[in-house]
C-alpha cells in the first residue's frame, strides 16, 4: 500500500518547522527532499570506500568503481536503456542538454537546418539552442502550445520539416504540468530523419519512463529532483548516436592515449565523463532509484495524479485563483501553477512561508512562455510521494487567508 504518512518518516527534513509551523514542502519541481536511505548511502561512501574511481588497483578504488558502475546500471534500468553505456553522468539536466548542443550539434547542424523546441521550454532547453542556431546559421523553431498548455500536435507536420535535424521538447512541463504527447512528436521527428530529445527533468522523477517505448535519442534528467543529491544528473543517449559524437569536456579519464599534440578517446561512457566524476552522488542516485523502485513508479504516478486531482478540485473553489494547464489530472503531473487574484506571487510566497508552506514563485525559468501568456510570475505548488491531501487543504486554506489579508489590507 502506498502510504505517504509512512513515507514521510523516511524524510528527516519533513520533521522541521518553519516560522513555528510544520514544514509543508510543495516545491518539489524545483528540488526534492532526500530520504534517510540516500543520506545514509552518502555517509557510507565517505566512511567506508571513498576513493577515486577507475584509477586505482587498490581495494578502495575497486569498491568505489564497482558502486559507481552499479549506479550507472541502476539508472540505465530505471529508464530502460538497453545498455549502461547509454547513461552519461553529468551535473544536471542543463549540462546534459548543453552536452548535446555542443558535442552533437557541432557536427550535425548546418546553415539553414532547423532545430525545433516548444513554446513552453525551460530556459535550459531553449538558450543552448539559440547559441547553436546563431553559430550555425540554423533556425530555431517553436512548436506552439494549445490553450490548455499542451504541445499542439496539429502543428507537428508544418513545424517539423525535412530540414529539421533535432526536435527537443519538455516531456512534462514545469509550468503547465502537461504530460506532452511525446510519442507523436518523436514519430514525426524520426519521419523527417531528425533526432528526438526529451527534457525529462519533470517526468523521470514522477512516472515510469521507458526510452525504448518513447523511442527517443536523448533524454536528460536531474538527480536532485528525484531524491538524489544535486550535482548528479544523466544524459541518456542511443548508443549508435553516442558513438559518432565528438567528446564534450576534455581531460583525465575521457582519453585513451595522449600525445603532446593530439589524443584519442576512451570507450563509452568514459569518453563523455572528463575529470574525476561525482561518484558519491552517483551512488546516492542509485540509492534514490532503489527507493523509487521499491515504491513502484506506477504507484508514484498514481499518487501524484490523485493529489493533483484533489488540488485542482480544491483550487476550483477559489474564485480568484486561476490554474494553468490541462483540466484533466491524468493529463498532467502533480504540480499546479496558478495566479491568485492580483496578489503578486512573491507576496503570496512570503505569506505562505509564514504558514510553513514552501511553494515556488516566479517565472520558473520559463520566461518567454510566461510573457506569451501575459504573465510575469506565477505561484507553483508541486507534489511528491510524501505530500498528502491534508497538506493540500492547508495550502488552500492559506490561500484563502492570503486573499482575505491582501484584500482587507488594501
Amino acid at each position: 500500500m502506498f502510504d505517504p504518512k509512512a513515507i514521510r518518516k523516511d524524510f528527516p527534513i519533513l520533521a522541521r518547522t518553519v516560522h513555528g509551523k510544520p514544514l509543508v514542502y510543495l516545491d518539489n519541481a524545483a528540488t526534492s527532499q532526500k530520504p534517510r536511505q540516500v543520506i545514509q548511502t552518502l555517509v557510507e561512501c565517505y566512511e567506508m570506500y571513498n576513493s577515486n574511481v577507475h584509477r586505482g588497483v587498490h581495494t578502495l578504488s575497486m569498491e568505489a568503481t564497482e558502486r559507481y558502475e552499479t549506479a550507472r546500471q541502476k539508472a540505465a534500468d530505471f529508464i530502460k536503456s538497453p545498455a549502461p553505456e547509454g547513461v552519461i553522468f553529468v551535473r544536471n539536466t542543463t549540462e546534459a542538454i548543453n552536452l548535446v548542443a555542443s558535442a552533437w550539434a557541432t557536427d550535425n547542424v548546418g546553415r539553414g537546418d532547423e532545430i525545433v523546441v516548444s513554446e513552453m521550454e525551460h530556459h535550459s532547453n531553449l538558450v543552448p539552442w539559440q547559441k547553436v542556431a546563431a553559430q550555425k546559421g540554423a533556425h530555431l523553431k517553436l512548436l506552439p502550445a494549445t490553450d490548455d498548455g499542451v504541445i499542439d500536435v496539429t502543428a507537428l507536420d508544418t513545424v517539423i520539416t525535412p530540414r529539421t535535424k533535432l526536435v527537443s521538447v519538455v516531456h512534462v512541463s514545469n509550468v503547465t504540468g502537461a504530460v506532452n504527447p511525446v510519442k507523436e512528436i518523436g514519430r514525426r521527428a524520426h519521419q523527417v530523419g531528425a533526432l528526438f530529445m526529451l527534457d525529462g527533468a519533470q517526468s523521470v522523477p514522477h512516472m515510469p519512463v521507458d526510452v525504448q517505448d518513447l523511442d527517443c535519442d536523448f533524454l536528460a534528467f536531474s538527480g536532485h529532483k528525484m531524491m538524489a543529491p544535486p550535482g548528479i544528473g544523466v544524459l541518456y543517449a542511443r548508443l549508435s548516436v553516442l558513438e559518432k559524437m565528438e567528446p564534450f569536456l576534455r581531460g583525465g579519464e575521457m582519453v585513451r592515449e595522449v600525445w603532446y599534440d593530439h589524443a584519442t578517446w576512451n570507450d563509452l561512457p568514459n569518453k563523455f565523463e572528463a575529470g574525476t566524476p561525482n561518484f558519491t552522488d552517483a551512488v546516492a542516485l542509485g540509492a534514490a532509484i532503489d527507493y523509487l523502485n521499491a515504491l513502484g513508479m506506477d504507484a508514484v504516478r498514481q499518487h501524484e495524479v490523485e493529489l493533483g486531482a484533489y488540488a485542482l478540485k480544491a483550487f476550483a473553489q477559489l474564485e480568484e485563483v486561476d490554474v494553468l494547464g490541462p483540466k484533466d489530472a491524468r493529463q498532467r503531473a502533480g504540480l499546479v501553477t496558478f495566479t491568485a487574484g492580483d496578489i503578486h506571487p512573491h507576496d503570496l510566497g512570503t505569506f505562505l512561508d509564514h504558514e510553513g508552506i514552501a511553494i515556488r514563485t516566479g517565472h520558473h525559468c520559463v520566461m518567454p512562455y510566461h510573457r506569451k501568456l501575459g504573465l510575469v510570475a506565477t505561484g507553483r505548488a508541486s507534489f511528491y510521494v510524501y505530500n498528502t491531501n491534508d497538506e493540500v487543504d492547508l495550502l488552500v486554506q492559506s490561500l484563502k487567508n492570503a486573499l482575505a489579508y491582501f484584500a482587507h489590507a488594501s
Binding site: 516560522h19 512573491h346 507576496d347 505569506f351 510575469v376 488594501s410
Partner: protein, 151 residues
C-alpha cells in the same frame, strides 16, 4: 492568527503605495533614466528624473510592475526625491541600504529617509530585501549613466 511580523512587512501604507503608486507618469525628456529588473522574479521599475538648472530634481516619473515591496519602495522613493540634488539622492540610497543591512543609522540618515523608513520591516525578510533595493540600484545605474553622458 497571522504572525505579527507579516503585518510589519505589509504595513497599510506600503500596500497603499503598491495599489496607488505615486508619480505614475512617464517623463519623456528626462535627464536621468533608470531601469531596474530582477531576473529572478521578473519585477521591473522605471524611473525618470527631470533636473532644474542648479541640478536639483524637479520632476519624477515612475512605472513598474512587480511585488508590493518593489513597487511600494519605488513609489515611496519618488516622494522623497523632489528638490534633492543627485548627491543627496546618493546619500539617501546609502542610508536606505544601510537600514536594509540592519546597520545603525545616524539621526541625520534616519531623517533623510522620510517616508521610506516604513520599509524597515523588510529587513526581517532577507529574500525580500532585494525587492526593496531594486529601485535604488536602478537609480544608481541611471545616475552613473547620466554623469557619464555629461562628461
Amino acid at each position: 492568527m497571522l504572525p505579527n511580523d507579516l503585518d510589519e512587512l505589509y504595513k497599510e501604507v506600503i500596500l497603499d503605495h503598491y495599489r496607488n503608486p505615486r508619480n505614475a507618469q512617464r517623463l519623456d525628456d528626462a535627464h536621468v533614466k533608470a531601469h531596474g529588473f530582477n531576473p529572478f522574479c521578473g519585477d521591473e521599475v522605471d524611473l525618470q528624473l527631470r533636473l532644474n538648472g542648479d541640478g536639483a530634481i524637479r520632476e519624477v516619473g515612475f512605472q513598474g510592475r512587480g511585488c508590493s515591496i518593489s513597487q511600494a519602495s519605488a513609489s515611496l522613493l519618488t516622494e522623497e526625491l523632489k528638490g534633492k540634488t543627485l548627491a543627496q539622492t546618493e546619500a539617501l540610497r546609502q542610508a536606505f541600504r544601510r537600514m536594509m543591512m540592519g546597520e545603525r543609522l545616524t539621526d541625520e540618515e534616519r531623517e533623510s529617509l522620510g517616508g521610506l523608513e516604513v520599509l524597515a520591516g523588510v529587513r526581517q525578510f532577507p529574500v525580500r530585501i532585494k525587492c526593496a533595493l531594486l529601485v535604488f540600484s536602478a537609480l544608481e545605474d541611471g545616475i552613473k549613466e547620466h554623469r557619464g553622458r555629461k562628461r
